[in-house]
């Protein structure tokens, strides 16, 4: 027996991970992110806007959080000490 919000969270997390994988593998932004992760100066030399890609990857990282928050809240709780209370 398992609760419905948790199944939805499982499926949703897999879906978001798949979208992220496609984004990293197929798009120009994904290629730029992988290039910068591997060789920051080389990426700058071939004309990738490093500051823009930094901000984009930070944004994508937080977008994952936004999705995770939607999947978490039906089954969990929130408080300002969420971070420390749950660890």
């Amino acid at each position: 027996m398992i609760s419905v919000p948790k199944i939805a969270a499982f499926a949703g997390a897999l879906a978001v991970a798949a979208v992220l994988l496609l984004l990293l593998a197929r798009t120009d932004l994904g290629r730029a992110i992988r290039a910068i992760a591997k060789e920051r100066h080389g990426a700058k030399l071939v004309g990738i806007d490093v500051e823009h890609v930094f901000a984009m990857s930070f944004g994508i990282g937080l977008a994952c959080l936004g999705a995770a928050a939607c999947f978490l809240l039906p089954a969990y709780y929130v408080s300002p000490r969420w971070v420390t209370a749950s660890s």
Binding site: C64, G66, L73
Partner: protein
């Protein structure tokens, strides 16, 4: 005694919880891989996102799953702006500075939330919060 009727739901429970934790870690590791910094504000930002979902539900009556198309772009925009105008601006390109800026950001966000919304634990009631299904029940 190890009983299958206890073990199997526990495994399912762990898998589903772990999937969400993996999703959170995915964002953390993406930021770590590209910026080569550990984002200490990740937990605090998750808390902000949870409050976003909570208030969307309370003020606008939005279902948590219906708030996905709102929360994902909103958090993306927040992250873009944070890196562009706060973390990138304050770090002067030094990795150890970024580390400190995110740690400071975590403290600021956590205490701002404490000040604005009090320390009550809150959750939302949906029709499906306590609904369960049987999967391969022995």
């Amino acid at each position: 005694m190890l009983e299958l009727s206890i073990l199997f739901p526990s495994v399912l429970n762990g898998l589903t919880t772990g999937a969400v934790y993996a999703l959170i870690a995915l964002g953390l590791t993406l930021i770590y891989g590209v910026l080569h910094i550990i984002n200490f504000a990740h937990g605090a930002l998750l808390m902000i996102a949870l409050y976003g979902v909570f208030f969307l539900n309370q003020k606008l009556g939005l279902d948590p799953y219906a708030s996905l198309p709102v929360m994902i772009p909103a958090m993306f925009a927040l992250g873009y702006a944070l890196q562009r105008f706060v973390i990138g601006r304050a770090s002067h390109g030094k990795d150890e500075n970024i580390l400190l800026v995110t740690l400071g950001l975590a403290i600021v966000l956590e205490n701002l939330a404490l000040y604005l919304w009090r320390s009550d634990t809150r959750t939302i009631d949906t029709a499906y919060t306590f609904s369960t299904v049987d999967i391969l029940a022995p």
